[in-house]
């Protein structure tokens, strides 16, 4: 094998684990991770912002619920490739394409969990709140949503983790964060890069997941006191 001198051995051997890679490509890895992170966070937040009102509309009656849940179902079944191509004419090769797509996907999970969470609020607590004169809005904000937090956060966690994974698909419009690195590396069998990008993806998902768990603990202190 005629290889240029001074090429690190792990590049030559195409090893999965290659510390040299991590130092050589640090800027690329950092940039990609940062991009991945903000795309994920913004997408999920956008999804949540849309999901809550949708869920609220949905629970007004069974027919509307079917429509809303059905529509988000349809979106979820559109393959990412197709969804991005649908968006492309409007938003072009920009992060917006990816974010809209990812937010739309997260809707499916979020709408259902927001709905399930709200349904789980005990009737007598709802009655007490209504009885002291809570408006629907206030009851929602002060009673129902807080009590639904565990189920909503469960949904947020799934949505976040799934968005971290899906964000790699953004590489088809070149905003895929770690997905860009991954796709390139898969293309030319650069194992060290495949490994690094995958590990960072997982780490990102793990950190976000843990973060949300902590947020949940923080905002639901009452669940910690056993009766």
């Amino acid at each position: 094998m005629a290889l240029v001198d001074g090429v690190p051995q792990c590049y030559v051997d195409n090893d999965w684990i290659c510390t040299r890679y991590w130092t050589d490509y640090r800027p690329e890895l950092v940039d990609a991770s940062v991009e991945h992170l903000w795309i994920t966070v913004i997408s999920v937040l956008a999804g949540l912002v849309v999901a809550v009102p949708l869920a609220l509309v949905a629970r007004r009656n069974a027919a509307v619920e079917s429509v809303v849940v059905g529509a988000t179902t349809i979106i979820y079944t559109i393959p990412s490739l197709a969804l991005f191509s649908l968006l492309l004419p409007f938003t072009g090769l920009s992060p917006t394409t990816v974010i809209i797509g990812l937010a739309l996907y997260s809707l499916t999970i979020l709408v259902r969990n927001v709905l399930a969470g709200l349904q789980g609020v005990p009737e007598e607590i709802r009655e007490a709140a209504r009885g002291v004169g809570y408006s629907d809005t206030r009851m929602l904000l002060k009673v129902e949503l807080p009590l639904a937090v565990p189920v909503i956060v469960a949904g947020l966690r799934v949505a976040t983790v799934s968005t971290v994974a899906l964000a790699t698909v953004g590489s088809i419009v070149s905003y895929g964060g770690l997905g860009n690195l991954l796709l390139l590396a898969v293309g030319n069998q650069f194992k060290a890069q495949i490994f690094a990008a995958s590990v960072l993806c997982v780490a990102l998902a793990g950190i976000l997941d843990l973060g949300l768990l902590l947020v949940q603990r923080l905002v639901t202190p009452w669940t910690r006191h056993a009766r």
Partner: protein, 295 residues
């Protein structure tokens, strides 16, 4: 289902099933699909039960082929050679394929042997990678070859899969052999609608597709000729699991007959039938075999 009244239902031809099962592999794009259908017809005619499994990439079917879970695959000479070469010698290994079919075959055979794969004689029919620009762009600048494009001396954006970078039949060859100034590779799939759209609306100037792509004309796109021959010999060739071939030696004749008959024009024509006339690959395959008098 026998709802179809097409005459080409191969399963009904007499000897089916008494020679055991054959798994035909392949990739799931039009041409590969047509070839798999041709293989299936031939094999069923020879008395085998055939299962066709079309997968997305060579990574998936090749290990299965060498293990014998897949028995036969219609493949491309240089593509297969490069794959086995990089698999054995690493991603940066020097290419052993070239634009010469015989030399490429010679390089391939030992590599395939090691994997328990036998290569039957290739056909003259080829499906090489090719680069296209928009009709308007070509007319404005009077382009017909890649050299013409290089002569323009303007930086171009290339729409191609990410693995294009550095490859001698892609970015590497375009810059080193033709001296093109490629400012950016926008990662877009080979022959995909996206890359064609991107070329058409000017987001990139140059896109990658195959020589047998039958859709370009309709879309207002034109191929530029590879006048300096950076594309390796992508002749169609049957790759067979060696053990399977040893057990069924008569297959060689059958497939040689096919390879002799098949031409690049046939491929393009069949692609058009499937891609534009929306005929089913099985029907196109049956028609082809009948026209050529093979079946």
């Amino acid at each position: 289902s026998d709802l179809e009244d097409d005459a080409s239902d191969p399963a009904s031809s007499g000897a089916a099933g008494d020679k055991g099962t054959v798994v035909v592999g392949g990739q799931d794009f039009t041409e590969s699909q047509i070839l798999a259908a041709i293989y299936q017809s031939l094999l069923e005619d020879a008395g085998y039960q055939v299962q066709t499994k079309l997968v997305t990439t060579r990574d998936v079917y090749l290990p299965e082929l060498s293990k014998g879970n897949v028995d036969i695959v219609p493949d491309y000479l240089a593509g297969l050679t490069d794959f086995l070469n990089t698999q054995k010698n690493g991603p940066d290994a020097e290419a052993v394929s070239s634009n010469d079919p015989a030399a490429t075959l010679a390089a391939l055979e030992p590599l395939a042997e090691e994997q328990g794969i036998s290569i039957l004689p290739p056909s003259d029919a080829t499906d090489q990678n090719a680069f296209f620009v928009s009709q308007d762009f070509a007319e404005q600048n009077d382009l017909s070859t890649l050299s013409d494009l290089a002569a323009l001396g303007e930086p171009v954006k290339l729409g191609a899969p990410p693995d294009c970078e550095g490859r001698s039949d892609c970015e590497g060859g375009l810059t080193k052999v033709y001296g093109l100034d490629i400012s950016e590779i926008v990662p877009l799939d080979f022959a995909s609608a996206q890359v064609k759209d991107a070329v058409k609306n000017g987001e990139v100037q140059l896109g990658e597709t195959g020589t047998t792509d039958g859709t370009l004309e309709d879309l207002g796109l034109v191929l530029l000729e590879d006048d300096k021959g950076i594309q390796p010999a992508q002749n169609l060739t049957p790759a067979v699991n060696s053990d399977f071939l040893a057990d069924n030696p008569d297959l060689e004749d059958t497939f040689n007959k096919l390879s002799e008959a098949l031409t690049t024009d046939d491929l393009a024509a069949m692609n058009v039938q499937v891609d534009l006339e929306r005929k089913k690959p099985a029907d196109v395959a049956a028609q082809f075999l009948e026209d050529k008098g093979i079946l």
